[in-house]
């Protein structure tokens, strides 16, 4: 047995994080947090040059032909730096085309998505906390009509994969007539969300759109779990750092047993969760019969654990942890995003119970 990353995978994470140390220090994220575009063109360009735009796109279409585990590892590395930008929607849109698109659609979009000549996003959410394929209400008869919420970077996207009733996933060009995009104003300013109104808009079905809808959802759950895990471990690292440097009563506060034990509990909460999203990604790639349940468990556990850690991190920083100036807020809000996007932990726990024949 070998439950560890390959050398290529470790190298991939190193390359990306070295790039981010240079190109995306916290100062860059802070600037993003002061605005509401959630986007840094230069940074995105750099990420594309690293190949992040097409990791899982097959080589025939100019991608790296890697697996969801590699996507998840990059999601982890990006999350640790709270990288702003359209990675999540872009990855899921290209995955949907890769898995469910026609040769025509693949030829048409995948090379441009891999090369960064186009940005993709995915529209899954609807009102009243609807995220799941079987719940979608957006209608298609000839044209697409309906309202989708929480769409990452629809303002920048060239192609939008939309979840619709019946057909699963369909492809819409942003340039098509009848699409109204309005900013949602989300809590995580490093991942902008928009609201989309479709008024009889032209679309192309993905031939396997119905079949891959839940696969794409599962991939999304894994990427959110990875992001939440890395946000949690970043917050633990920050809190430990703070405890080693902040002095009160003539010693660093890390000497205080109560805080030390809270930090230990935070680490115990988050560190084992790494193996959970690893496993879920691995299952997505190689253990199909376990993939759906493993993704549900990973999303529920990693986002819930990271949320608990995020709250503890604020306390571990004392008053300053509650301020805008303290970096804790950045990852705190990433976790809020990861936990709510694609559905709450309790929702996915009930799903995992059903999938486990409980």
């Amino acid at each position: 047995m070998n439950f560890d990353l390959s050398e290529e995978q470790q190298l991939l994470q190193q390359t990306v994080s070295q790039f981010l140390e240079k190109e995306c220090p916290v100062s860059v994220v802070r600037e993003i947090f002061e605005g509401d575009t959630g986007f840094d063109p230069a940074l995105w360009k750099g990420m594309i040059e690293l190949g992040i735009g097409g990791l899982h796109i097959s080589e025939d279409y100019g991608g790296a032909g890697l697996e969801v585990i590699d996507l998840a590892l990059v999601a982890e590395t990006l999350g640790y730096a709270a990288v702003p930008g359209p990675f999540l929607g872009h990855a899921l849109a290209s995955l949907a085309i890769q898995l469910g698109g026609s040769d025509e659609q693949k030829k048409n979009w995948l090379p441009r998505l891999a090369a960064g000549d186009a940005i993709g996003t995915i529209a899954l959410g609807e009102a009243d906390g609807v995220w799941q394929p079987e719940q979608w209400m957006a209608k298609i008869d000839g044209k697409l009509t309906g309202r989708k919420l929480y769409v990452p970077y629809a303002n920048l996207a060239d192609v939008i994969i939309v979840g619709v009733a019946g057909a699963g996933l369909v492809l819409v060009e942003r340039s098509a007539a009848g699409i109204e995009v309005s900013p949602f104003g989300g809590v995580d300013r490093s991942r902008r969300l928009d609201t989309l109104e479709f008024d009889s808009v032209a679309f192309e079905p993905l031939p396997d759109g119905r079949a891959v809808a839940s696969r794409v959802r599962d991939a999304g759950l894994v990427l959110l779990a990875a992001d939440a895990f890395s946000a949690g471990s970043r917050l633990v690292d920050m809190s430990v750092e703070y405890a080693k440097n902040r002095e009160q009563f003539g010693v660093t506060i890390g000497h205080f047993q109560a805080l030390k034990h809270q930090l230990a509990n935070m680490a115990v909460e988050i560190e084992p969760a790494r193996a959970l999203f690893w496993y879920a990604a691995h299952a997505f790639d190689h253990i199909p019969e376990e993939a759906e349940r493993a993704a549900a468990i990973a999303k529920a556990h990693c986002t819930d654990g990271a949320m608990r850690v995020a709250r503890s991190s604020v306390e571990a920083h004392g008053g300053i942890g509650f301020t805008w100036e303290c970096d804790v807020q950045i990852w705190f809000k990433r976790v809020l995003f990861d936990r709510a996007f694609l559905g709450l932990p309790s929702f996915h726990r009930e799903r995992s119970a059903q999938l486990g024949d409980w």
Binding site: D128, Y150, G185, G186, Q248, F249, A258, G321, W324, E325
Partner: protein
């Protein structure tokens, strides 16, 4: 045991209602004159400024928690102006009455009680939180003025304040606690700069105050040089937040219950979800326990007894309740938990309630840190409440 207030008190309540009926009209709220006129009458009738001697503009009533509670209840239901709130009346006035010099009382107490003069508190510093006594802001005597240099943090209302009561190090050579003095400092002067401290919610309830050669008269000191620490401690015992804390817990829980009733989950009100019911039920246990424990403390205070260990617990209890309220609320919000609490980001598309709850989700953490982290509360409960020995570092810290 009797949860009604009893005959004598119900009569008093009638009297208060009568006073309000004949002296306060809803319309008066808008007029400052009307408000201050009303306040004057209320003081004359002994309804406001009850703990303040009459020679300082108070009504000098015997302490009676229950009368005080009745007055608060009736005044607020009539939306009439009650006692001036704020750190000035809560902390400075009692301190001056106990430790101030006569001229200081005469100069500062009456306008503060009337709400004409506002205060802020200059205790915490960026480097001195739980270890407050390590504060570094220095005051040096220059002729007959103190010259103050340093930085204060978490100063609520600093922009609107006329004065700050401030702990400064005046005896650099004395031991940690003995080097601190308690100064009153005018805020409207060039040497003082106030910058708001933004919170993760985007709001700004706190400030940083930078003092650069700020000045205050030599005799604007409460107590003697080096007595600042002891004097700042004396104020603490004036805290009477038992009822306040409990009432707040009850109110937030009621709000949460409403949210659960109004929120749909799987096409039915979330409150019908068995798991939500269990979580709300468990939480209500803590809320009611806090509420009724508030009655216990009210009764004890009214009798002049000590409510014992309970009174060291109120802050931690409401912090714990606030945490769980926030956790349940976040699950009720579901996808609306993605919303940014910042009002200026409001898109008008989402029920306005939700933004408030996200904000509350973050504030429930603020509670834990405002005025001492939960860990400090646990130290207090363990040491003052349960009589456990003090921590080695704190002992060292406090020079013991």
């Amino acid at each position: 045991m009797d949860l009604s207030y009893g005959k004598e008190y119900e009569e008093f309540r009638e009297e208060v209602r009568g006073f309000l009926a004949s002296n306060w009209a809803e319309g008066d709220r808008s007029s400052d004159d009307a408000r201050s006129r009303f306040r004057k009458q209320a003081v004359e009738h002994g309804y406001l400024a009850r703990s303040i001697p009459s020679r300082y503009g108070g009504s000098e009533q015997p302490a009676d928690e229950i009368r005080a509670t009745i007055i608060r209840e009736e005044f607020s239901s009539a939306r009439a102006p009650g006692d001036v709130q704020g750190i000035g009346t809560m902390m400075l006035v009692p301190t001056l009455l106990e430790k101030g010099e006569e001229w200081q009382r005469e100069k500062f107490v009456p306008p503060t009680v009337r709400g004409e003069v506002k205060w802020c508190q200059g205790y915490s510093e960026p480097g001195s939180g739980s270890d407050l006594a390590s504060l570094q802001t220095r005051a040096e005597l220059d002729g007959d003025e103190w010259v103050i240099n340093g930085q204060k943090i978490w100063t609520t209302g600093a922009q609107r304040a006329d004065y700050m009561f401030c702990l400064c190090r005046t005896e650099p050579d004395a031991s940690k606690h003995a080097g601190i003095s308690y100064l009153l400092i005018p805020m409207k002067q060039p040497g003082i700069e106030v910058t708001p401290l933004r919170q993760m919610t985007g709001g700004s309830d706190f400030n940083q105050v930078f003092l650069t050669d700020a000045r205050t008269p030599k005799d604007w000191m409460v107590g003697k040089r080096g007595e600042g620490w002891i004097i700042s401690r004396t104020t603490l015992k004036h805290e009477r937040n038992s009822i306040g804390a409990a009432a707040q817990s009850v109110a937030t829980f009621a709000g949460l219950l409403q949210l659960a009733k109004n929120t749909q989950r799987d096409g039915r009100p979330a409150i019908e979800d068995p798991e939500i019911r269990q979580r709300l039920g468990a939480l209500e246990g803590f809320v009611r326990a806090h509420e009724y424990s508030g009655y216990r403390q009210l009764t004890a205070n009214a009798r002049g007894d000590s409510p014992g260990v309970l009174q060291t617990m109120n802050k931690l209890i409401s912090t714990n309740i606030g945490h769980e309220v926030a956790n349940i609320a976040l699950d009720l919000l579901d996808d609306e938990g993605l919303l940014d609490p910042l009002a200026d980001r409001e898109m008008g598309r989402i029920p306005r309630g939700s933004r408030g709850w996200i904000s509350q989700y973050m504030y429930s953490l603020g509670i834990a840190v405002a005025g001492g982290t939960a860990n400090i509360q646990r130290n207090v409960i363990g040491e003052r409440g349960l009589g456990l020995p003090r921590d080695a570092y704190a002992q060292k810290g406090s020079g013991k």
